[in-house]
């Protein structure tokens, strides 16, 4: 979902409009801030989850991002730019978290996702498939992974990804294409060996 779509969806969901919510939150209305959080919690938590791979870490990052948003309410000019700001802050926070984390820390898998299907056999297969796909993202260099997550999983345009990651559109295109090639090789190698 592109950022413009996200902003429009927010306006449709909240009859008073995001601008009013933002203005009320700026004035100290905690309920308005909570409404803004509800609107953007999926964006922040899911992005952090996809970038980091573990739900507890993603929740910590989400908390950090929303507290930062509260502190910076005065600097946020308009609600339309909020999603882009949140993507940028989330990506930066995840980058910092990965640097802080010990390099030999055990790899977490997407344990936060629900296992699909009632059949235990099917659920196990699905979990294994998800683990492999998650691993294919994990083995990517951090910048390529961030570009792929924002472009292919979050559905941002190349320019929006570039703004969120603080780089150029050309760099993002290069990172996205490299990431897609690596993921394809990883997935093909794994599923061919099965």
């Amino acid at each position: 979902m592109a950022l413009a779509d996200l902003a429009m969806a927010g306006e449709a969901e909240f009859p008073h409009g995001q601008s009013h919510l933002l203005a009320a939150a700026k004035a100290g209305d905690l309920a308005a801030f909570e409404a803004l959080m509800r609107q953007y919690e999926r964006l922040v938590l899911v992005t952090a989850f996809r970038l980091l791979g573990g739900l507890p870490d993603a929740q910590d990052i989400s908390q950090e991002v929303f507290l930062k948003m509260y502190r910076n309410l005065g600097k946020l000019e308009e609600a339309a730019s909020l999603a882009g700001w949140l993507y940028r802050v989330t990506a930066n926070a995840c980058h910092d978290a990965r640097r802080r984390k010990r390099p030999n820390a055990p790899v977490e898998f997407a344990e936060g996702l629900r296992a699909g299907g009632a059949d235990p056999q099917q659920a196990a297969t699905e979990a294994e498939r998800r683990r492999v796909l998650d691993l294919s993202l994990r083995m990517l260099p951090e910048k390529e992974r961030a570009a792929l997550v924002l472009r292919d999983l979050e559905g941002l345009s190349t320019e929006e990804v570039a703004r969120a990651l603080g780089s150029s559109a050309a760099t993002v295109r290069s990172q996205v294409s490299k990431a897609r090639v690596k993921v394809r090789e990883f997935v093909e190698r794994y599923f061919r060996s099965q």
């Binding site: 919690e41 899911v46 629900r114 998800r130 292919d152 996205v176 294409s177 090639v181 997935v187 093909e188």
Partner: protein, 175 residues
Amino acid sequence: MHCLDWEERVALHVGGDLPAAEAAPVEQHLAGCADCQVFWSGMKESLELIQGAHAEVLPQASYTAVRARVLAELDGRRAWWRGGWFYGAAAVALALLVVLAVWPGLRVKPLPRMAVAGPPAPVVVTPVAARREAATNRGRRKRTPRQPQQLEPRRPLLVRLVTNDPNVVIYWIAE
């Protein structure tokens, strides 16, 4: 084996990232290159697999937990501010006191300087008889017995108060 020269452009074409002008030659190449077609379809499949795997939603409880943590933290901060008014008022009062003490116009004027000066020493008058006796004794070189020391009369204490006004000097004489 696909064509490495076309790899990056094919990878971008899969995700629809190429503008029309750049996409057209890629499509022409794909139409004539079987290996690159396989590469293209394999990449499309892996991309869809990843998108499918991550399309699943996180449990609602995970969002609720984050929201609760954020609101609890914000509530805690607000409570601190509400409780901190007393300390704030105390700090303001202290600052006011410091300003009052330091402000030049509000300083206490210094007391006039005080100087203590003694009266001039009294003139000792020696009697004539005593002077004669001293003259005769000078020629004899005779040791004369020591005269008992004469006690000086008690001097009065003179206190001079110098004020800021040079025309006003206060003398205070005490016995």
